[in-house]
Amino acid sequence: MDDLRRRKRISAAGAVIGLLVGLLAFALVVQVKSNTSGDTALANARQDDLVRILSDLNARELRLRTDITQSQGTLSQLGAGAQGREAALNEARRRADELGILAGTLPAVGQGLQIQIVRGSAAVPASTVLETGEELRGAGAEAMQIRGSTGGPVRIVASTAFVDGPAGITVDGVLLTGSFTISVIGPGPTMRTALTIPGGVSDAVARVGGTVIVDEPASVTVDALHASTELRYAKPAD
């Protein structure tokens, strides 16, 4: 009888102990998970950053919805009767042209700028040319090519890398030396302004003794071609 009571008491105390240990383990796991999850970036962000991220996400959502509606419209157009089909075919050709221009496999023409980065005493570093490309893209540049006093022209696409080379820079493996000329198609005045902001490209070039000369011809031709890339590791996702 005593034995039974003792066993019951032990199991009651044991049950409480087991429950408490279980709660502890649960709390530990929850804490570790909440610490290692990627939410810490958001949790530590400041109020203004969060508001801005939210408004940008909303703008992106709006744009995606427009894209979706547009795609659905195009799909139905392609399946529609003769007139719709004609419009759809034109749209298809336009998209293929766009793709070619962006990929660098098609020559392009349009309004834009001819930018001369004249070399001074020292060579213009690759980082400055990279910055120039980024500023131009930020201002709306759609197609670009670069040539040097020797070397080039090289079409600038997404995967174009600028690396410092002997007495010049290497762009996609092509060595360019001396002064560089960049032909870019896009909104002329906006791009020109982007180059001259204080602390930007003009200042960076002036620091190495060079000068930036911007010309806005009636039309700019970007006809250097970028070889079609063979993707070996990246596969289109389904």
């Binding site: 962000a45 109020q47 962006l102 997404a158 896009g186």
Partner: protein
């Protein structure tokens, strides 16, 4: 302090602290009372009055401190938590829409190519071109370069983040890393989920970095799909060396790792306003 040494060893401050947390003054006062009898009534009443006053002061202090601690926090933290929740749900919504949009664009592209009479080989070429220019989502093995802003200094008194400026990762750092990855053979790059295409920009606006005019925040993960040699080549570029020096000088964080399977989304659909093909097709 006043306790005699035990076992001939003098007690150090720490063991005394742990063993005798009660003020020895109490024991001394009790011993004095036992010896000399209770104190004269006016002194007792004086001490009693002071004790009551002290207790009122303690209660006051507790209430004030509690209100002080509670005052600033709850509104701010509740609003903050609400915002974080909204951002997260907006993120999932846009991710779903992004997937839907990507799928539809793929369908449109295939249908258009078929309408133009493209055969299977041309179709495959088209898909490759789209993937290469960042206009189609891609998967593959590769590497991730992770950059984090320096941690905010914590004000030692309040335990909260102080307002001192923080050393941040700049847009030129991300540009340099992306450039070096391309130079090392990357075939597709995305920064915090924003794919880089021919029209992509990485720029600073105020205190945030924008990729394609969308903000990205620390920590920055630059994901690149490429071959097994890409990461090794990248680690030997001058850019990687510059990044390491930034780590030591400014306390930024810079790390690289390989990934077996990366999935990068498509960049937003382009709309060329100025460039057109030279010869009409």
């Amino acid at each position: 302090m006043t306790t005699p040494p035990r076992d001939g060893l003098a007690p150090d401050f720490l063991s005394d602290l742990f063993r005798h947390p009660l003020d020895p003054g109490y024991a001394d006062a009790a011993a004095r009372r036992a010896e000399h009898g209770p104190r004269p009534p006016w002194r007792r009443r004086g001490a009693y009055g002071l004790k009551v006053l002290t207790l009122v002061a303690i209660g006051f202090l507790l209430a004030v401190a509690y209100r002080q601690a509670v005052k600033a926090e709850p509104e701010a933290t509740r609003a903050h938590a609400g915002l974080v929740g909204e951002v997260k749900s907006a993120q999932t919504a846009t991710d779903d829409l992004q997937n839907q949009s990507d799928q539809l664009r793929r369908q449109v592209s295939d249908a258009q190519a078929a309408a133009l009479g493209a055969d299977a080989a041309e179709l495959r070429q088209l898909r490759q071109e789209e993937a290469a220019t960042g206009l189609a989502p891609v998967t593959g093995p590769g590497a991730v370069v992770r950059l984090v802003d320096a941690p905010t200094p914590i004000d030692p008194n309040t335990g909260r983040q102080s307002d001192q400026p923080v050393n941040r990762v700049l847009d030129i750092d991300l540009q340099g890393v992306a450039n070096a990855l391309w130079a090392s053979g990357a075939e597709a790059i995305a920064i915090n989920g924003q794919r880089l295409s021919t029209l992509s920009t990485i720029r600073t606006a105020g205190s945030a970095i924008l990729v394609d005019f969308r903000p990205v925040t620390s920590p920055y993960e630059v994901s690149a799909i490429g071959g097994p040699n890409m990461l090794g080549t990248f680690n030997h570029t001058p850019t990687a060396a510059t990044m390491h020096s930034l780590v030591t000088r400014y306390g930024l964080s810079f790390a690289t790792r390989s990934e077996d399977h990366l999935q990068l989304p498509a960049a937003p659909a382009p709309a060329l306003l100025y460039a057109r093909p030279e010869a009409p097709r």
